[in-house]
């Protein structure tokens, strides 16, 4: 696609869309939203970029190696966060029982492990969207 207007509008909007997605992921525990919704917003920003600017430029933004890495270690990150509870002598994926400081209610750092787990899930969901899209579009070309 070589539409001038589309490219300029995308260049203006996509950074903000991506920042908004990251905001939704990071504030999943203090605002409406969450890691699944935010991850999809981040992934869709990449997908929109690739559909507008073409496959080659899209692949230059996020390489196959990067998606494969995030794809694999995103799930492992969740398990590692669960193991924090085990190392503190509490059940797997324990949060308050493991004695983790929950912080002030409503602050970004509140919730102990929940924010970190949410970050992992969000990155995971966005990489799933990107990988599925790239796998299908590279098959066609």
């Amino acid at each position: 696609m070589t539409d001038f207007i589309l490219k300029r509008v995308a260049a203006l909007l996509l950074p903000f869309i991506q920042m908004y997605g990251l905001y939704v992921i990071l504030h999943g525990h203090v605002s409406p939203g969450g890691s699944f919704a935010g991850g999809i917003v981040v992934g869709l920003a990449f997908i929109a970029f690739t559909t507008i600017y073409g496959l080659k430029k899209g692949r230059a933004k996020i390489s196959e190696k990067a998606t494969a890495l995030v794809e694999s270690y995103g799930t492992l990150w969740y398990g590692l966060m669960g193991m924090v509870g085990v190392f503190k002598g509490a059940p797997f994926l324990a949060n308050k029982i493991a004695g983790i400081d929950l912080g002030e209610l409503g602050a970004l750092s509140s919730g102990g492990l929940i924010g970190l787990i949410g970050l992992g899930v969000g990155i995971r969901v966005s990489s799933t969207m990107i990988t599925l899209f790239f796998t299908m579009i590279e098959e066609e070309s």
Partner: protein, 98 residues
Amino acid sequence: MRLRTLPMLLILLLVAYVVVVAVTELPPYGIAGNPVHNQVSQRYIESAWEETGVLNMITAVVLDYRAYDTMFETIVLFTAVLAVIITLKTTEREGDGK
């Protein structure tokens, strides 16, 4: 009409009747005394904020009370991507004759 069609139709109608009767026996939607409003949701509503420290109650349920469920949900995503890659990804190997 084959011989097996009539008994099958009867069984189908019987099952449909049972389903319709079961649906009419359901409690009306949104009444406070319904069986779904038990002590589990009561516990979440009353003490989710002090047990998890987050304001968003949905996040508290998804990432704390039901953390196992969400973990395997991410593994389901992983498996879906794996299946798509296995079926769709074509890599050209040497000596393939392509």
